[in-house]
């Protein structure tokens, strides 16, 4: 156990090991509709997403902008925008369906049992209040801490996310800190009340490469120390490779492939996953070559094709692909993919 781990373990008592068979989170057939700008149509932005997640494990949700990955994350928090509504499915969390809970009940869970980290740390904190004040808020609200106990907890939380001279930092304002530092503060706020589930939506996209690597390491350490169930929403397979146990690839609101991270990297079954992996810039090989991209445009959710949503951009398309959307099929080893040709490739 490293020094930082030991420090972190001091802050929050380790949770008892969860029973491995029971997932902490079980999303079943989640469907979300979004009212279009003109209000005339309902778009299916999330279309039957399912996955289990155990404590201490990490799920990566990968896809292009607008594929529904962030919407899925917000639905778990109960923070969907007013124009969106849950059209079906369940989100089981510690044995309870979150989608059936009232806003008041969700407020008790948010920040206490389920926390979220957002993309841009420079705007995630209120610029007019000190770090200490914003860190104190969830502690006061959920844990009813005050006085010396509150102060002690604030300091040790900043230590747990490796922020030097925490006493000074508590009195500072967001504009006095760097992006990487602020994302650590956001992380400290997110884990302040010892949550079971942490959702990170593009947590490193706004950071410089050094800060990115440090923050991913921090997330991994927090997950292992507190046995967090971690969901990382990203468009970056590098983040996935570094942090995740399982990957869920989304396209046009649907899951196209899901499985253990090594399986997905070594044997991607869906042509979209294959194309995404091929589009990762390689430092060594193919230096002279051009960046590989995916032909065509991301789909317009208002005009999805009748068959497979990826068919218009798919290099292996067959007539059947234009007729019926392919179901998710078991590929073995917990690997599922929705492609009519998944068995052949």
């Amino acid at each position: 156990m490293s020094k930082a781990d030991a420090m972190a373990a001091k802050v929050l008592p380790l949770m008892p090991e969860p029973t491995p068979s029971e997932p902490l989170v079980e999303v079943r057939d989640l469907r979300i509709q979004l009212r279009s700008r003109d209000g005339a149509r309902l778009l299916n932005v999330v279309n039957g997403v399912s996955f289990p997640l155990h404590r201490g494990r990490t799920l990566g949700i990968v896809g292009e902008s607008g594929c529904g990955k962030s919407t899925t994350a917000l639905a778990l928090m109960g923070l969907l925008p007013g124009s969106a509504r849950v059209a079906g499915g369940q989100v089981q969390f510690a044995g309870e369906n979150l989608l059936a809970k009232s806003e008041k009940e969700m407020r008790e869970l948010r920040g206490a049992k389920i926390s979220m980290i957002f993309q841009d740390p420079m705007v995630a904190l209120d610029p007019l209040f000190t770090i200490g004040d914003q860190l104190a808020e969830p502690l006061e609200r959920h844990l009813k801490l005050s006085g010396a106990a509150l102060r002690e907890r604030q300091v040790s939380l900043l230590q747990a996310v490796s922020i030097p001279s925490p006493e000074t930092r508590l009195g500072q304002y967001p504009h006095q800190m760097s992006g990487g530092m602020l994302q650590r503060v956001v992380g400290a706020i997110a884990i302040a009340c010892n949550p079971a589930l942490l959702i990170a939506d593009e947590p490193t996209t706004a950071l410089d490469p050094t800060a990115q690597a440090q923050f991913l390491d921090l997330l991994a350490r927090l997950r292992d120390t507190y046995q967090l169930a971690l969901i990382v929403v990203t468009h970056d397979f590098g983040v996935t490779a570094r942090l995740c146990d399982d990957v869920l690839v989304m396209y046009a609101g649907s899951v196209v492939e899901r499985g253990p991270v090594r399986e997905i990297f070594d044997h991607p079954r869906h042509p979209y996953t294959q194309a995404l992996l091929a589009a990762i810039p390689q430092a060594q090989e193919d230096r002279q070559g051009r960046l590989r991209t995916i032909e065509g445009q991301p789909p317009d959710l208002a005009r999805l094709p009748q068959g497979c949503a990826f068919a218009p951009r798919c290099p292996n398309v067959r007539p059947k692909c234009h007729e019926l959307p392919p179901p998710l099929r078991e590929m073995g080893d917990g690997h599922v993919a929705s492609c009519w040709r998944a068995g052949e490739v």
Binding site: D120, P127, R141
Partner: protein, 305 residues
């Protein structure tokens, strides 16, 4: 913060000097008071004598130096019309103006901010659209028209409230309303748009993800962030309400600085115009200084700049 304060204070003093020059020059541009003081059949010699008694025959820059020297000693000159010190004349009517202006200011701040927050939170409901209708009327209706409508309704038809003078608290109600309505409209509209903007900010979403209650998010975080443009406009409203109540004071026959100034302008009573304008500009500059200080208090980024 102290450095910040002194820098703003220095800027305020420069502004006051600038205003004194403008007031002094503009008052003289309005015409020659000797013609009004002298009898109609006065000879050029008599006119020249009056001018030299008033010091108007000296070059204008020398007149200004004399003016500043006197002002520094608290002497704003003597009213040509009333033959009284101009400063005491203005000071005697200042309380009436402050009473009306400050009550209109407090009213428009409280009502404007509260309704601005409500309309932002209840966006696109009947409350929102209804109050926005009131805002349009408040901004479009000229205060003299509004004042007369209020008099017609509450004084003439219903006979609930007095229409003119300054005898009791009841006399304040109508002029305060007439003066405050346009300010309420401005403050409401600005608070609403500032609140809409802050409520969609990322840190509000992060606060919600922390499980914070709606009232804490709205009143502690969103309103404080929205208050920066609102404070700026409140500063403008404060100087407008104290310095610009001329028309409302006239409609309601309210014995304030505004009415005195109109009379002084008509009579080319330089000393009174200068004293009145300078005094009102003190309040304007003071209001701006207050706004700057509030900015520093509210926003650490301004404080540490």
């Amino acid at each position: 913060m102290l450095f910040y304060f002194f820098r703003r204070l220095g800027r305020a003093l420069v502004t006051i000097v600038g205003i004194s020059v403008i007031v002094f020059v503009v008052a003289r541009l309005s015409g020659d008071p000797t013609l009004q003081l002298a009898p109609e059949d006065a000879t050029p010699e008599e006119l020249a004598q009056i001018r030299s008694e008033l010091g108007l025959d000296k070059p204008i820059w020398m007149q200004y130096v004399v003016f500043v020297e006197h002002v520094a000693q608290g002497d704003f000159g003597t009213s040509i019309r009333y033959q009284q010190p101009a400063l005491s004349l203005v000071l005697s009517v200042l309380p009436a103006t402050l009473q009306l202006g400050l009550s209109a200011f407090v009213l428009s701040t409280i009502v404007g901010v509260l309704l601005g927050v409500v309309t932002a939170l209840k966006r696109d409901t009947w409350i929102d659209s209804g109050l926005r209708g009131v805002v349009v009327v408040g901004q479009a209706a000229p205060s003299f028209w509004l004042g007369m409508m209020l008099i017609l309704l509450f004084s003439v038809e219903l006979q609930w409230l007095p229409s003119s003078g300054r005898m009791s608290l009841a006399h304040m109600v109508l002029p305060t309303m007439a003066l405050a309505l346009s300010s309420v409209a401005v403050v409401l509209r600005l608070t609403r748009s500032a609140m809409l903007e802050t409520m969609s900010a990322d840190y509000i979403r992060f606060l919600r993800s922390k499980g914070m209650s709606k009232s804490l998010i709205v009143w502690k975080h969103a309103l404080r962030n929205a208050s920066i443009p609102v404070i700026a406009v409140l500063g403008l409203q404060l100087s407008y309400l104290i310095g610009g109540a001329v028309i409302v004071e006239t409609v309601f026959n309210w014995p304030g600085v505004g009415r005195l100034m109109v009379e002084a302008l008509n009579a080319r009573d330089f000393a009174v115009i200068q004293a009145g304008a300078l005094l009102v500009s003190f309040f304007t500059v003071g209001a701006n200084l207050l706004v700057d200080l509030l900015f520093g208090l509210v926003d650490p980024r301004i404080r540490y700049e």
